[in-house]
Subunit: 169 residues, 2 copies
């Protein structure tokens, strides 16, 4: 699948078969995450790969948008290290670029994935920090749920000409 | 070029030939930007396409990391509408996912591109808001400079096993 095709056909997948994804695929997705650019090349991202069903179920129980996680079978929590990037906005940007790479890589592998937001919703990020023993200086930005899709979603065209401005606002 | 290959070989390009990129390519890159996921599907992104050399030079003169812009020939300013997404962190995340799509699309088209950060550096975002008449409720997040590359950069492997945690931090 070429890049633009992947970008245009990727959808958020929240329904999974429950089939376990293999570690080779997780490795490819993680590697894609690392390849994102970061401001000043600080590379503040850290990744927590969660596969244990008890943990996934605990997260699903406590985070209302993470209900799909247990059946996905894998959640990669993308975090930012504030000692490497002290500007919160840049930290979020770096992690988000990384997450987008991961979502596209998962799509290429015919896996389904969805971005489950944590930060800046304090309630969500605190739940995850508590469950996964994340230290104070690390901000969990989002969970990328990944699994075998149990649904086929058609591509959606989100293009909106009204949002394109020429030369000035 | 498949997705994972594109992700792994994309580099930030700051040297350009000065050759003008065609509007079809700008359209493909913009469309890629629109296809990024956004929290709650609010889609707060807005895009300002700047091609006039006077404007590009003015930005380059006032933003120290935007020196490459005039020779690139095109800068797409990705902004977030705070009336559509009031959480700044989510706004940054949405725009960043969009930017990453655009960088990958540019790479697929054999164009060079680089992410020039604006927000959260107040100095930079204010300069751009002033030059491009951006209203108060719109936050310019970054400029994606796009042009014909005048340099060939080898892929870099940014993988770092130490940043991967299993099950917990």
């Amino acid at each position: 699948m070429n890049v633009i095709e992947a970008i245009n056909t990727r959808r958020s997948i929240r329904q999974y078969t429950g089939e376990v994804i293999n570690d080779k695929h997780i490795d490819i997705i993680l590697r894609a995450g690392f390849q994102a650019p970061s401001a000043h090349n600080f590379q503040p991202q850290e990744y927590i790969v969660v596969k244990e069903s008890e943990t996934l179920e605990l997260i699903a129980k406590r985070h209302k948008y993470a209900k799909a996680l247990p059946l996905a079978g894998c959640g990669i929590v993308v975090c930012g290290d504030t000692t490497k990037e002290s500007r919160e906005g840049s930290l979020i940007a770096d992690c988000s670029a990384s997450i987008q790479n991961m979502l596209l890589a998962a799509h290429e592998l015919n896996l389904g994935a969805v971005w489950i937001g944590l930060h800046p919703v304090k309630e969500f990020s605190e739940i995850i920090s508590e469950i996964l023993d994340i230290p104070e200086h690390i901000i969990p930005i989002a969970i990328v749920a990944i699994g075998h899709p149990n649904v086929k979603k058609e591509a959606i065209d989100r293009y909106n000409e009204e949002k394109i401005h020429k030369e000035k606002w």
